[in-house]
């Protein structure tokens, strides 16, 4: 009997990706989680088990900041889900309309902010909304709505929502593109068959297209979730590491950065910082698992 040959080529072809991915992703991830189990006492690294997490969740000073950041993060995510994704879907639906002219132009224009750096977006919007030099107040003034203007980025009650909307402006192109691609894959015959049965216009969208793009919407939701809970750049670029005013725009990313690297007179604490990073990892993992096991498995797929 012939022995099964060891298929070396599989290992050889996998090796580069596995090695690189392990070195730059897997190892740092687990090392960060390990770092969270230590603390520094008199220049010595001491193993303390889960004490850092206990501090993070139950020490009043840390817990207040953590829950504030987590709450803000959820709000940031909700704004994206309620504003970015519906607008993205609507834009894609409009763009895929066969009789729309200049569709390519609109598509590019809406997608361009996505490729801009966070720093540019943060800085540009800070200037646009600036009560002193910004064009937002004078534009509102021109249409007689000056009274509606407020220094949004400087007010506790508006700052986070404003930044979330800036982020929506930047990234609305992504759901638009993904949905647009999904819409293009819907065969004409199905729509024509619907037409024969009297389903046209809006009801064609609601009854035929939407069920067919639901899997894409699911993917977009999970991408938004992961992106939002890892977010940091925009807040840091616009409001700095203290995520002002009065921590009202503090999300997990800025909280982790401030703790890990220190800020002004605050010296960095890599161990507490890692604990926060660990908590972020757990939250994202949980979210992704809920999606994968509770939502995606139940989603109905249609054979096209």
């Amino acid at each position: 009997m012939k022995r099964a040959r060891i298929r070396w080529h599989i290992a050889v072809f996998l090796a580069p990706a596995v090695i690189v991915y392990s070195a730059v992703m897997i190892f740092p991830l687990f090392n960060t989680l390990r770092l969270a189990l230590y603390t520094r006492v008199d220049r010595e690294r001491v193993f303390v088990g889960l004490e850092n997490f206990q501090t993070l969740f139950f020490d009043p000073i840390w817990a207040e900041q953590f829950w504030n950041a987590l709450g803000n993060n959820f709000w940031f995510f909700i704004i994206h889900m309620l504003v970015q994704n519906p607008i993205g879907i609507a834009l894609a639906a409009i763009l895929s309309h066969p009789r729309l002219r200049f569709a390519a132009l609109y598509r590019s224009a809406i997608f361009i902010p996505t490729i801009l750096s966070f720093v540019i977006v943060g800085f540009a919007w800070k200037l646009i909304l600036s009560p002193i030099w910004g064009i937002a107040p004078s534009m509102l003034d021109a249409i007689g709505l000056k009274s509606l203007f407020a220094p949004w980025l400087g007010k506790e009650e508006y700052a986070l929502t404003t930044l979330a909307l800036v982020s929506v402006w930047q990234f609305v192109g992504i759901p638009m593109m993904l949905i647009y691609a999904a819409l293009l894959t819907i065969p004409e015959e199905i729509l024509e068959a619907g037409e024969v049965d009297g389903i046209t216009g809006m009801s064609a969208f609601w009854k035929i297209k939407l069920p067919l793009i639901l899997p894409s919407i699911g993917i977009i939701s999970i991408l938004t979730f992961v992106g939002n809970f890892n977010a940091f750049d925009l807040i840091y670029a616009a409001q700095g590491a203290l995520a002002g005013p009065d921590y009202s725009t503090d999300i997990l990313g800025t909280f982790m950065y401030r703790t890990f690297f220190g800020f002004q007179l605050q010296l960095g604490d890599p161990h507490m910082g890692s604990a926060i990073a660990g908590a972020m990892f757990a939250i994202i993992l949980l979210g992704v698992c809920i999606y994968l096991f509770a939502i995606q498995t139940r989603m109905r797929r249609y054979q096209l």
Binding site: P131, P151, G154, G244, L265, Q266, D269
Partner: protein
């Protein structure tokens, strides 16, 4: 490279011809002040080398935000320069405790500095001083002289007069009374709370008492400045909540605001930007004739790497930095960074001269939160930023803010428990 070889060749020829056997050493300075590179290369280093031809000095700054991290890794790796520019308080203290900085207490030239000047680079008990103080920054208010003349206003000396002036500017309406925003937060604490505060807590007396645990942040002298800051809100421009630090600088230098709560480091920038005459007044006292206190904050020092190969040459340089000669070069090249040596320095810039003159009239202190009190979590300095902003916006009462800061400090600082 070729140039250096040429230089070496020339130097060795010189050595041979003159027959001087002195070993030439090169000292390297680590610093975060890359803005000052040309100043060091063109003025400070040539002045030193002229007196000490056997010592060469190189100034090698890194970016301010990266300095602490870069320096720490260089020190751990043993590749750091011979001389190290010192941040005030805990950042440098940590280096000293780790054995990276040499104790300089026995350097003769240290006697040129007052105790307050040295406090930023001493161990908590004051036993060892590990950096030579170089410069401090002073807080106060810079004002637009033209605007004051136009409105017929006098420079205020008491708090009553201060608010009367602000009211007058506000009523006139052609200028924003005061240029400061709360978006970046630190100005509210640094140019607000720690600017006017020393007059309430009596400078060093209150600051030391707070460190010793004899006073609390809930005491009236520590909460009253918040009550005063709360009154500022009405005089800052429209939308000050989203106004950033550069916004405030521009508003003032464009001549749109009359008063700017300042730190002296603004002087050179303002001189270049503003085309009107500027003056300065110190933080107003509560009642005419009260002793005035100013925040004369120690900001830069320089110390010696404990692992240097040339300790003698490095000490020679440090002794020179401590001399009046260095103070004069440095103080004039960087108006607004005031030399700390006790010998008075003749400054040429009128605005800088005016500000440094307050040292003779008032008692000096440093920012209340910098020494020891910002060592733990929550960090008192960072908390003070938020509290000062909340005070200006009227989001919390002074007593609430005092209580909140006191609770945070007491949670980790034993003398306050």
């Amino acid at each position: 490279m070729q140039l250096r070889t040429l230089g070496l060749a020339l130097a060795s020829t010189a050595l041979v011809t003159t027959g001087v056997a002195a070993q030439e050493v090169t000292l390297t300075i680590e610093s975060w002040r890359n803005d000052d590179l040309t100043l060091w290369q063109d003025e400070i280093i040539p002045a030193f080398e002229a007196q000490h031809p056997d010592i060469k000095v190189e100034f090698t700054p890194s970016a301010p935000a990266e300095y602490n991290a870069v320096l720490n890794s260089k020190l751990d790796a043993g590749s750091a320069g011979d001389l190290i520019t010192c941040r005030p308080f805990d950042a440098s203290l940590a280096l000293y405790d780790a054995g990276h900085l040499t104790d300089l207490s026995d350097l003769d030239a240290m006697s040129n500095f007052s105790d307050v000047a040295k406090s930023a680079w001493q161990t908590d008990d004051g036993a060892a001083t590990f950096c030579v103080p170089m410069a401090s920054v002073i807080h106060g208010f810079i004002y637009n002289k033209d605007a004051f003349a136009e409105l017929g206003l006098e420079v205020p000396t008491t708090e009553g007069e201060f608010f009367a002036v602000l009211d007058a500017i506000k009523d006139d309406g052609s200028y924003i009374p005061m240029a400061m925003g709360t978006n970046d937060q630190w100005e509210a604490a640094t140019m607000g709370y720690n600017n006017i505060g020393p007059n309430y807590w009596k400078g060093e007396e209150g600051r030391q008492a707070l460190i010793a645990g004899d006073q609390k942040l809930t005491d009236p002298q520590w909460t009253a400045p918040y009550a005063t800051l709360a009154r500022w809100g009405g005089y800052l421009g429209d939308g000050y909540e989203a106004q950033t630090y550069p916004d405030s600088q521009n508003i003032f230098t464009l001549g749109r605001a009359a008063i700017y709560p300042a730190g002296s480091w603004e002087i050179s920038g303002f001189n270049a930007q503003a085309d009107f005459e500027m003056g300065a007044f110190k933080p107003p006292v509560q009642n005419a004739g009260d002793t005035c206190y100013i925040s004369d904050h120690t900001d830069i020092g320089i110390g010696m790497n404990a692992a240097t190969d040339h300790p003698e040459a490095a000490k020679t340089f440090l002794a020179w930095v401590a001399s009046p000669e260095f103070a004069e070069i440095f103080g004039n090249a960087l108006p607004g960074f005031f030399p700390l040596s006790s010998t008075p320095v003749e400054l040429e810039d009128p605005l800088a001269k005016e500000i440094v003159g307050w040292r003779d009239e008032c008692e000096s202190t440093i920012r209340s939160t910098y020494q020891i009190l910002s060592r733990g979590t929550p960090n008192l300095e960072n908390e003070t930023w938020g509290a000062s902003v909340a005070a200006i916006k009227g989001a919390a009462t002074p007593d609430e803010l005092g209580q909140q800061l006191q609770d945070g400090l007491a949670s980790w600082y034993e003398p306050q428990q």
